[in-house]
């Protein structure tokens, strides 16, 4: 490859690399943990931070980390303006609960941002055994406790259960705290394990089928609630192994399939509670050194849930489906500003309900302000059996007029399922003292850099585009026809030329391989051409012209035969001629003799003093013609 080409290629590759690098550099995704070592069942807070992303982002789903339970706890987003430059970031928070000791490396977490996948770096964690763990139930293990030991735990009479097929010593019940709810209202799904075995909970073999619901998972209790209950005349140890908060998205009748739960048991129901002290130890939970353990799949029966629509009576216009019990507060960062100077309003909505789906209060079109959304942050609290949280919205108001102008009351409506009524909260009305400014409104540089602050063009209606009011040019069709015909004609000419050129090229190649071929092929044409010129000399009485006639005939014959037989013209003797003719026609052939005779006539006539008769000239010409014809036939 030439050097300039190399340079060009290198420059292109470098340019593309830099361009791609810059583009990729706009979004940065990182993951971090608040600590790198913890005890089993401690909480490790994992944060995924996405910087520089545009638009809304969905919370990344964590892959299943072996040895950890994971829970999503909320998000927060920030947009900051420093020295006229803006930057945005979103943080997603998770809690990791280690389930076993060891050294772990959490692999990179894949995060989708604007259609591209980004992967975080790995995180190393060291989990150590908890010294006090033996007396706790962090691994969500339940164990049969014999009644004879006189357990101090509370004994409750339970309704008749649906037993696991084939074995009534162990079963799982999935229950909901209410069966008729409104859309987006929390319903608590609880999984309770009833067992008479030494049992270890292994997790879900099949995830619950809860399509149509927004799900929030509760972290496991540090102390699993464990009690002894009597069901159908038998004593069981009951333990709550999992809790999910479900939020239905639309009104409909649902059937929740609770999934399949995997447990491992020691085969024989235990008669004493002597191992209770140790059931959480992985060695002793195995049922003793020589005991055998067996895996069981437990499938609780499906649960019917009715989601009724919101009442239409009294529904506020700004109601957007938020359900729960909330309170709202609002504040502005300054009350006296110059025209075109941004004022930030902070709105905080806090309470029980699905915080993630909570919308910002509507802001009406305000002539006095340009309004832009800035930060949004949400935090989830999972206290007891309720999902609660706080969502903060920051809105930038830029006054475009001077004077005392007002930010009106903003309303936020939600449905309170306990009271079964709609409730509306209002922010206070803020009065701003805006001093005039000479400069015209201009979007602040910090805001104009972000596309999300620019207003979208709204199409208000659609129709067909208007007619053409000028006569279309006819020339274009004439042009096409003319161009096609012209180029077609040129192509035909060129094709013929190409044919000629190729034929000529082929001939040249043949001539290049055989030098005598060109002479052989052109001999006849050359001879005939010269013979035509002889006609004027044939009838002349002038002896000099007669001499020239025979001289020319001799030359034509010699030239022709020399060309045909590849001989040299110069110095060709009668002997050479005789030998060639004898080789070609044989010594007895009359033509050979005639040619020799013609040769003699020519030689003699050239030096004759007397006038040569015309019949002799014709005879010479005849012999010449016959010779050429005969040789042509012979050579073919």
């Amino acid at each position: 490859m030439h050097t300039p080409m190399k340079i060009l290629l290198f420059s292109t590759v470098m340019f593309l690399s830099v361009a791609l690098g810059l583009e990729a550099g706009e979004v940065v995704v990182t993951a971090s943990a608040d600590r790198n070592s913890a005890k089993v069942s401690d909480e490790i807070h994992l944060t995924i931070r996405i910087e520089g992303a545009q638009g809304s982002l969905q919370a990344p789903r964590l892959p299943g980390f072996d040895g950890f339970d994971t829970f999503y706890t909320g998000r927060s987003s920030q947009i900051s303006f420093v020295n006229g430059r803006s930057s945005s970031s979103v943080e997603f928070s998770y809690v990791l609960v280690p389930q076993k000791p060891g050294r772990f490396t959490l692999k990179g977490i894949e995060v989708q941002v604007e259609g591209r996948a980004y992967t975080t770096g790995p995180i190393n964690l060291e989990i150590v055994e908890d010294a006090n763990q033996v007396s706790r139930t962090q691994t969500q293990t339940a164990s049969y406790t014999s009644a004879s030991t006189g357990s101090s735990q509370q004994t409750i009479q339970e309704p008749e259960p649906v037993f696991a097929p084939g074995d009534e010593n162990i079963f799982v019940k999935a229950t909901v705290d209410k069966t008729t709810i409104f859309p987006n209202e929390q319903v608590l799904l609880t999984y309770s394990l009833y067992t008479r075995y030494d049992t270890r909970y292994e997790g879900f073999e099949e995830e619950p089928g809860v399509s149509g619901f927004w799900i929030e998972e509760f972290p496991p209790e540090r102390e699993v609630k464990r009690e002894t209950v009597r069901v159908g005349g038998m004593r069981y140890v009951k333990a709550e192994i999992k809790k999910l908060a479900l939020f239905p998205t639309t009104a409909a009748d649902y059937t929740i399939s609770p999934g399949k739960i995997k447990v491992s048991i020691r085969q024989e129901p235990r008669a004493t509670s002597i191992f209770d002290e140790f059931f959480n130890d992985s060695f002793f939970t195995g049922g003793g050194f020589f005991a055998r353990r067996e895996n069981r799949l437990l499938e609780p029966p499906p649960i019917a849930l009715k989601v009724v629509p919101f009442p239409s009576r009294g529904k506020p216009e700004d109601f957007k489906g938020t359900v729960g019990n909330f309170r709202m507060s609002a504040s502005i960062d300054k009350a006296t500003v110059k025209q075109d100077e941004p004022v930030t309003m902070t709105l905080v909505i806090e309470g029980e309900g699905n915080i993630e789906t909570l919308h910002k209060p509507d802001i009406p079109e305000l002539d006095e302000f340009k309004v832009y959304d800035a930060d949004t942050a949400s935090n989830l609290y999972k206290s007891g059996d309720v999902i609660a949280g706080k969502k903060t919205f920051e809105v930038v108001f830029i006054p475009v007029k001077a004077g005392n102008i007002r930010i009106p009351k903003l309303s936020f409506s939600y449905f309170n399922p306990r009271l079964e009524t709609y409730q509306t909260l209002y922010t206070p009305e803020f009065v701003l003292n805006v001093t005039p400014s000479e400069t015209k409104f201009k979007l602040p540089v910090a805001l104009s850099e972000k596309d999300e602050f620019k207003k979208q063009i709204k199409v208000e209606g659609r129709d067909i585009h208007y007619i053409r009011e000028r006569m279309p040019p006819r020339d274009i069709n004439v042009f096409y026809r003319g161009a096609i015909q012209g180029i077609l004609f040129a192509n035909i000419l060129l094709t013929l030329l190409l044919g000629v050129g190729l034929f000529r090229d082929h001939q040249e190649r043949l001539y290049a391989r055989d030098n005598a071929l060109r002479r052989r092929r052109r001999a006849k044409a050359f001879a005939e051409s010269r013979m035509r010129r002889l006609k004027s000399l044939m009838h002349s009485k002038d002896p000099e012209k007669s001499n020239r006639y025979f001289d020319e005939i001799g030359k034509i014959l010699t030239q022709y035969l020399a060309d045909k037989f590849g001989l040299s013209v110069h110095g060709m003797t009668e002997y050479d001629l005789e030998r060639t003719l004898t080789d070609t026609f044989g010594s007895e052939d009359p033509l050979s003799k005639e040619i020799l005779e013609l040769h003699q006539i020519c030689e003699e006539s050239r030096f004759a003093k007397a006038q040569v008769s015309e019949s002799l000239k014709q005879r010479a010409m005849k012999i010449l013609r016959e010779t050429i014809q005969r040789v042509e036939k012979t050579r073919r």
């Binding site: 659609r462 129709d463 067909i464 585009h465 208007y466 007619i467 053409r468 009011e469 000028r470 006569m471 279309p472 006819r474 069709n477 096409y480 026809r481 161009a483 096609i484 180029i487 077609l488 040129a490 192509n491 060129l494 094709t495 030329l497 190409l498 050129g501 190729l502 000529r504 090229d505």
Partner: protein, 258 residues
């Protein structure tokens, strides 16, 4: 006397030439006037008259994409979606890269009662979309030019630079010519074999055979685009982009080309 005769011939020829040219100008002026008249009728909201005048102008100037576009607009205003779409399609064949025609065609299609799900492979759709971006004449011209370049360069080398090796430039020209040949073939199939047509009737019953006695396969409505696969007397076999096919009376559809 002889020179006098020649002079008369020259004068006569001149007069004939002037008459022919004047007739051409008169024709052009008439065409202009009927086009302007049609536009004025459209502006006045007299869409029936506008459609009639556009149709008359088209008889004199049948290759104008703009005229078909305006006629499509007039039919659209008359709520004749089938005829509007047919004329937009005809306009698109003549001016395939005209954004207004594409917009109006898509808009009119959006108002149709029926929708046909295009079940063809993505590459078939891509090829069709690509082919539809070029006029038939443009494809022919492109092929001829690429042939001219190949043969011209060859002739040049043979006659003026004999012995010049086949460099990447001439190889690229041959590849270009082969591509243009394939393109020409594909365009020919698209234009002459997959003849597209538009349904003009409000409701059309598609039969399993070319007669009303044959069982009805499905119903379709005005404005849908179909491909005509076969023609019999008064009946046409059509194919939809969804893969459904059947027979319809030829009078209920109109081919875009032809």
């Amino acid at each position: 006397m002889k020179s006098c005769l020649n002079f008369k011939k020259v004068v006569l020829g001149g007069v004939v030439m002037m008459l022919v040219m004047q007739a051409g100008f008169v024709w052009a002026a008439e065409a202009m006037s009927s086009f302007d008249e049609a536009n004025q009728s459209y502006r006045d909201g007299n869409y029936e008259e506008a459609a009639r005048l556009y149709t008359r102008t088209l008889e004199e100037n049948p290759d104008s994409g703009n005229l078909y576009y305006n006629l499509g607009n007039a039919y659209f205003r008359l709520n004749k979606l089938g005829l509007a779409i047919l004329n937009y399609e005809k306009a698109l064949h003549r001016s395939p890269r005209d954004a207004d025609i594409r917009y109006n065609l898509n808009y009119a299609r959006g108002l149709l009662e029926y929708k046909v799900e295009d079940k063809r492979n993505w590459y078939m759709k891509a090829v069709e979309a690509f082919l539809q971006y070029f006029r038939w004449e443009e494809v022919i011209l492109g092929t001829l030019i690429s042939y001219l370049l190949v043969v011209g360069s060859w002739v040049f080398v043979l006659f003026f630079a004999n012995g010049l090796p086949w460099g990447w430039g001439r190889k690229a020209l041959i590849v270009l010519f082969l591509i243009s040949l394939i393109f020409l073939g594909a365009k020919n199939i698209e234009r002459n074999m997959m003849r597209d047509a538009i349904v003009l009737e409000k409701n059309v019953s598609v039969h399993y055979g070319p007669s009303s006695a044959d069982q009805v396969a499905f119903q379709m409505g005005e404005g849908l685009k179909v491909y005509v696969m076969d023609r019999r007397e008064k009946w046409s076999r059509i194919l939809l982009a969804s893969g459904e096919s059947g027979w319809v009376p030829s009078s209920q559809i109109s081919e875009v080309v032809g």
